[in-house]
């Protein structure tokens, strides 16, 4: 089974055979796996999130408007004035 997809079947990775790869490793003392992470955590995250705000904000702005309108309208319809309006007075 499989074979025509990108992947091999169940654990067989498939994909193009990789050749000429040199593997070496830095000593754990030389590695800096958390280099700049505290800075990126604040500035990178805020930059990337704020870049999405124009796309997300439109929808949530409209949604919040509908939510407040519907809540107010519901409360009005339950009030004395709202009942009078519903009865056509």
């Amino acid at each position: 089974m499989g074979g025509h997809g990108y992947m091999g079947w169940w654990g067989n990775m498939g994909g193009p055979k990789q050749k000429g790869i040199t593997t070496y490793a830095l000593s754990p003392f030389e590695q800096k796996p958390f280099a700049g992470v505290s800075r990126a955590m604040i500035f990178n995250t805020s930059r990337r999130v704020s870049a999405q705000i124009p796309y997300i904000g439109v929808a949530f702005g409209i949604g919040y408007g509908i939510y407040t309108w519907a809540t107010a309208r519901h409360e009005y319809l339950l009030s004395k004035a709202g009942h009078a309006e519903a009865a056509g007075h």
């Binding site: 997809g5 654990g11 498939g14 929808a59």
Partner: protein, 286 residues
């Protein structure tokens, strides 16, 4: 505690599944060649909804009356529903295996929407250990709910024992069923409401056809991004309407939201794809 564990884990299961489906919609994971994977996923979602729904005899009762128009629903019906609630998870488990098999045909999608075929790492240990972070976080949050707020995601009305002699004055499904419940009751016709509710789930199956864009995923499609979030917010409104009493303005709002739900699939998604492709063609013409 075991019952609370059952109920809260089901809630989280649905929460994660909604995120998973949302991710699939955003990143175009339904597009060829992963149509089989997506379709099995939609069926899993449908069976999940049915399973979750059967756990609440009060809602089930209402629906049976919707379909059968006033036949008495008694103990036998509740027993039958409970049996299916036990049986369907085994079918779900089999479907999950099929979901995995379909996934392994073509591999996972990624946020860029391009093939990641040339650069792969093994599931174990890389993803196992990465996922374990999420598992532990999940168990932490689940424990918080389980031990400190076990009823936070439920509704008090669902503690009223089922009474075959009385239709409940108001029914509130579990939160994860609310959007589809809102769609169900926004259609005035009984059978039409059921058809719309099931159609709302099955319309996901049409996504591979409805998405006319040449680009997989929404990461590089500004119009689709806006449309996607409109869909999300509309879905949240459906969530909200489904939990309200059947009163104005929630009736009208639910109907408009249902309309938008279907319009998103049938008009917005194909329309935006066509606009994008046309703009692309115009700009690439000499």
């Amino acid at each position: 505690m075991i019952r609370y564990l059952h109920a809260n884990t089901a809630s989280f299961f649905f929460f994660f599944v909604y995120l998973h489906i949302g991710k699939g919609l955003y990143y175009g994971s339904y597009k060829a060649p992963r149509v089989a994977l997506w379709s099995i996923g939609v069926i899993i979602f449908l069976v999940m909804i049915i399973t979750g729904f059967l756990a609440i005899p009060w809602i089930g009762k209402d629906l049976v009356e919707f379909i059968w128009g006033g036949y008495s629903v008694d103990n036998a019906t509740l027993n039958r529903f409970f049996s299916l609630h036990y049986l369907l998870p085994f079918i779900l488990a089999a479907l999950v295996v099929m979901h995995f098999m379909a996934l392994h045909e073509h591999g996972s999608n990624n946020p860029l929407g391009v093939t990641g075929n040339a650069d792969r790492v093994y599931m174990h240990p890389y993803f196992i250990f990465k996922d374990m972070v999420s598992w532990f976080l999940f168990f932490l949050v689940l424990s918080l709910f389980l031990f400190y707020a076990p009823n936070a995601m439920g509704h008090a009305d669902n503690y009223i024992p089922a009474n075959p002699m009385q239709t409940p004055p108001s029914i509130v499904p579990e939160w994860y069923l609310l959007p589809f419940y809102a769609i169900l009751r926004s259609i005035p016709d009984k059978l039409g409401g059921v058809v719309a509710m099931i159609g709302a789930i099955l319309i996901l199956l049409a996504m591979p056809v409805l998405d006319t864009s040449r680009i997989r995923g929404s990461a590089f499609r500004p119009l689709m991004k806006i449309a996607y979030w409109l869909f999300v917010v509309n879905f949240l409104i459906l969530f909200w309407c489904g939990g309200q009493h059947v009163e104005e303005p929630f009736i009208t709002l639910g109907q408009w939201s249902t309309g938008f739900y279907f319009a998103w699939f049938l008009i917005l998604v194909p329309g935006i794809g066509i606009i994008e492709n046309t703009l692309m063609d115009i700009s690439s013409e000499k």
